[in-house]
């Protein structure tokens, strides 16, 4: 599985970009903010995007060419 992902890693580049933006640019920064109570809880509002992200990654994986007859 990992070899298959590695060989087709470029297919996951947009997902990696979104993942880095979300985790470093938003999630990590949210831990710095102490002046707004509830800012962490507000993160749940992004659940639809997170869900679509995982579906997109899964569909990308499913769409990869099979290796040696295995998918």
């Amino acid at each position: 599985m990992f070899r298959k992902i590695w060989r087709n890693r470029i297919e996951f580049y947009p997902a990696i970009a979104i993942f880095i933006w979300y985790t470093v640019g938003v999630l990590l920064n949210s831990t710095v903010v102490k002046s707004r109570p509830g800012i962490g809880t507000l993160g749940w509002i992004t659940l639809p995007t997170v869900a679509v992200f995982f579906v997109a990654v899964y569909k990308t994986y499913r769409g990869l060419p099979s290796e040696g007859g295995k998918s």
Binding site: I10, A17, T49
Partner: protein, 320 residues
């Protein structure tokens, strides 16, 4: 960015010239803007990060930052200014954005070819960079904005406080962010809804980005980060952020995706050179149209709220 998209064939001479010339122009604009921002700040009236009492259009006490801060936070900001604008931090933000953008560019180049990939990069960079700069400079120099307040008035719109490199008055980090967020979100929409029309995929892409921004903006504008600063004047504030910001996020990604997907068709009917020209002219016209759309939208929203008996800024949820 539907699943059925194939790379657009390269016409190597034109593509090479297009990428080289436009990259040179872009770098020249960034170099000049960066010089103006850091070394000649008086020309574009760049707000001073160290002295918030010198802010005008809006003043410090006319910002959302001031309204949502405690008195202790305000005092700290008055004393210390904008946090985190050290040279090391500015370089990190630029390098980080370039690396993340590179992921999307490499994917786009493989999937759609260099012409389409570069057009997405350059188009989204310029489209959003110009849009933001127009908003920022218009507010700063005229003291007016499309946003309509209820029970309070504040001159100006907003501005970004920190970055190393600038494109007019928009940080390069923000332009690159627009590129990879737009590309990534429209990619997600295309993966999950491959059979849906372009209109639906573009709308879903815009919504996905806007949803994350509902969390990202209250974080970025908090006193601990102050990555950008908003004037208070807008009749609706969602999590402390003017509603016009979220509408802008959706519209920019939605409209850009719609226009970019026309490129293969224009290439076939007009040829590569004319298709490129049309792409950028349509983007420029859309930039101005989105800006102008915000005026009647904000005016109508304010009218509806007043008719409904609202007599001061509506905070959603209350207390933010």
């Amino acid at each position: 960015m539907g699943e059925g998209h194939q790379p657009v064939a390269a016409t190597s001479d034109y593509d090479r010239k297009y990428v080289t010339v436009s990259a040179f122009i872009l770098i020249a604009i960034i170099a000049f803007s960066t010089y103006l921002h850091h070394w000649q700040p008086q020309i574009l009236r760049v707000p001073n990060n160290r002295d918030v009492s010198s802010w005008v259009n809006p003043r410090f006490d006319q910002t959302c930052l001031y309204k949502s801060s405690s008195e202790a936070d305000r005092e700290k900001i008055r004393k210390e200014g904008v946090p985190g604008d050290s040279l090391g931090n500015l370089i990190f933000m630029d390098v980080f954005s370039i690396l993340v953008a590179l992921f999307c560019f490499l994917h786009a180049r493989k999937k759609y070819g260099i012409w389409m990939a570069w057009s997405f990069f350059l188009g989204s960079f310029v489209f959003t960079g110009l849009q933001e700069s127009m908003w920022i400079l218009f507010g700063r120099f005229t003291g007016t904005s499309a946003a309509q307040g209820i029970g309070e008035t504040a001159p100006g719109t907003y501005w970004f406080t920190k970055d190393g490199l600038w494109f007019f008055e928009t940080p390069v980090m923000a332009c690159l962010g627009w590129f990879f967020i737009a590309y990534g979100c429209v990619w997600m929409a295309g993966k999950v809804f491959p059979k849906r029309s372009l209109l639906v995929r573009a709308a879903v892409g815009g919504l996905l980005a806007m949803i994350v921004d509902l969390w990202a903006d209250p974080i970025s504008t908090a006193p601990e980060l102050m990555t950008w600063v908003w004037a208070t004047e807008d009749c609706v504030r969602i999590f402390g952020i003017p509603q016009s910001n979220f509408l802008g996020w959706f519209l920019l990604i939605f409209v850009f995706a719609l226009i970019w997907e026309q490129l293969p068709r224009w290439d076939k009917t007009l040829g590569r050179s004319k298709a490129t020209n049309r792409f950028f002219w349509v983007l420029l016209a859309s930039d101005i149209a989105i800006l102008l759309f915000q005026y009647p939208w904000c005016y109508a929203l304010r009218g509806i709220l007043i008719a409904a008996g609202v007599d001061q800024t509506l905070y959603i949820p209350a207390g933010w």
